[in-house]
């Protein structure tokens, strides 16, 4: 130890401590590192809880709690280097900002802004919509799609794998274009020595055996927007005449899951005020219909909409998330896949130990393109004049992109700077923030408590798996953004 260390006064650094299956863990913030710790670390935390301690006093205190003198000194040095304990003022290091020329990885093509359903909560057509599609093309043409693929290849230089996601409106209302794009993009990617894959989101109403065969043959990932049992699904996912869409899609979904064998099929559930029975929804979609993965998200809405979930409703949702999370853990400890994607997605990020500058890849590695060729930060902002970041024919408007990224950067979200969950959350969805607060860079303060609760739950699951069945985590080892 050096003389300076002996003169130091220590305080606890920034971390979140949690327990799982009788073991103790630390989640170091903002690094995003997860450690399993022993009683010595517990003693250290006890020594410094609520008060500072000079070096010698801390060492004595640790020795009185059973540590050997040599071990105590080495231990304190290690904890200082790991930032578990700190000296002086705790000034968090600024988060690394992604480079200005961050290579593109995913392009979301909104093949059409038309839809054959009229779901009331839709962010593209509902009361809170940001899109201004008036006077713009309703369907993307092949020239625009082709230019988009070229744009993706050109802007993703250095990446081995790139992705195209098809979106809508209802994606399959422009299936002819989808087919053309898959053929063209696969050829272009092959010529460039790249790996490309495709995915789409659909309401499943227009699925046919031919389409399913095409999707399976081309390994196109499929996510179906579906809200649960007939009764739940038909509340808001309706045709223009008010008739529910469940009876139309249920047989098509079964056929899709049976015949599309090349990629896992996922369901994406939007939770609304009347549709919050998460466990029942999960059982129906996973067991009755056979989806491989089921993911949930509360509806994005301003708080005054009737379908918005209130505080009590959200607490109920979280309780049921816990039920499924416990189940997930039991499955994982047996090495089996459970299918609750909300857990898998978080575990993947925990495995890497992400420390995000931005909540998601929007405007960075991911961009959306509307039918008109306008570039948007993501599919949720497509067709919005205010949020457009350029046009596919002229490229990205770097000034607008920089403004969008600066607003969304964690450094500008002061409310987040004292939150231990910020390495993963980074303030939450840009679009949700805009709908709630009128600013894409506003932290989503209405769900902070839920995010912390959910992150803690996922940390407990991660810790338990890492301690009992670490092999299960290997599936999360490869990072999406680095491929």
């Amino acid at each position: 130890m050096t003389a300076t260390a002996e003169a130091a006064v220590y305080r606890l650094g920034e971390f979140h401590s949690f327990d799982a299956r009788g073991e103790r863990f630390l989640y170091l913030v903002p690094a995003g590192a997860i450690f399993q710790v022993d009683e010595a670390v517990g003693a250290l935390i006890d020594c410094l809880s609520g008060s500072e301690s000079p070096h010698d006093q801390l060492i004595e205190n640790l020795i009185s709690r059973g540590l050997e003198a040599d071990d105590a000194k080495q231990f304190v040095t290690e904890m200082v280097h790991a930032n578990v304990i700190v000296t002086g003022r705790n000034v968090p290091e600024p988060v690394q900002t992604p480079p200005a020329d961050f290579p593109l990885q995913t392009l979301v093509l909104n093949l059409t802004n038309q839809c054959n359903l009229s779901c009331q909560y839709c962010y593209e057509f509902g009361a809170d919509k940001v899109a201004t599609p008036e006077g713009k093309p309703k369907f993307m043409d092949f020239e625009t799609a082709k230019a988009s693929v070229d744009f993706l290849l050109q802007q993703s230089a250095g990446r081995r794998s790139i992705h195209v996601t098809f979106f809508g409106g209802e994606t399959l209302m422009n299936f002819p274009l989808l087919k053309q794009v898959v053929t063209y993009a696969s050829q272009q990617a092959a010529d460039n020595g790249r790996h490309i894959d495709f995915s789409l989101t659909t309401n499943a109403t227009l699925l046919t055996p031919t389409i399913i065969e095409f999707l399976s043959a081309n390994r196109i990932g499929v996510t179906v927007s579906m809200d649960g049992t007939k009764e739940m699904h038909d509340k808001l996912r309706v045709f223009a005449n008010g008739r529910g869409s469940y009876d139309i899609i249920a047989p098509k979904v079964r056929e899709l899951i049976q015949n599309h064998r090349t990629r896992p099929i996922a369901a994406r559930v939007t939770l609304t005020s009347g549709v919050t029975d998460v466990v029942k929804i999960f059982r129906h979609l996973k067991q009755d219909l056979g989806f491989h993965e089921v993911g949930f998200a509360p509806v994005t809405t301003s708080p005054n909409q009737l379908y918005a979930i209130n505080q009590t409703g959200m607490n109920g949702v979280l309780e049921q998330f816990h039920v499924l999370a416990d189940e997930y853990l039991e499955f994982a400890l047996r090495g089996e896949a459970h299918g609750f994607s909300n857990v898998s997605d978080t575990l993947a990020e925990l495995c890497q130990g992400v420390n995000k500058s931005h909540p998601c890849g929007a405007g960075l590695g991911l961009l959306g393109v509307g039918p008109s060729g306008d570039i948007a930060p993501c599919h949720r902002f497509v067709d919005s004049d205010v949020h457009a970041l350029g046009h596919i024919s002229t490229g990205i408007n770097r000034e607008k992109q920089a403004d969008f990224l600066k607003r969304g950067h964690i450094d500008s979200k002061y409310d987040c700077h004292t939150c231990w969950a910020r390495p993963l959350c980074a303030g939450g969805c840009h679009h949700e923030a805009f709908v709630r607060y009128g600013d894409t860079g506003h932290p989503n303060l209405h769900y902070c408590d839920w995010i912390r609760d959910w992150t803690n739950t996922c940390l407990e699951i991660y810790g338990a798996i890492a301690a009992r069945n670490p092999g299960f985590l290997e599936q999360f080892a490869e990072r999406k953004a680095s491929s």
Partner: protein, 114 residues
């Protein structure tokens, strides 16, 4: 680290960092892994431009630019030849007379036949 076990990739990086920082303060030589055994290849005197046994201007060893032990060390460590240079003091006093600078004039150092 003794009391924390890294469980994710970032933790592993921190663990490496901490271990590297905390071992720097110890005696590194003792903790360095042993060098792998390699064949002994003599450097040979011709690669080092060491004239070998020397005396200073007064005929002794006190005024040499390198201590005389250095010469002995050279013979002992890096050369397989027991005495690589002529006896400069008694039998071949003129051996280096045409070699003012070993790095430049080493070709003038000739063989000696007793």
């Amino acid at each position: 680290m003794r009391h924390m076990r890294p469980l994710n990739k970032k933790a592993a990086r921190i663990d490496n960092y901490v271990v590297s920082r905390t071992t720097d303060e110890d005696v590194v030589a003792l903790q360095s892994p042993p060098a792998p055994q390699r064949p002994h290849v003599p450097m040979a005197c011709s690669l080092m431009f060491t004239p070998g046994w020397e005396v200073d201007a007064a005929g002794g060893t006190a005024g040499l630019c390198q201590p005389v032990e250095r010469d002995i060390y050279d013979c002992f460590v890096s050369c397989y030849w027991p005495a690589q240079v002529p006896d400069h003091l008694n039998n071949a006093p003129d051996w280096t007379s045409k070699c003012a600078s070993a790095t430049k004039d080493w070709r003038n150092l000739d063989l000696v036949f007793p």
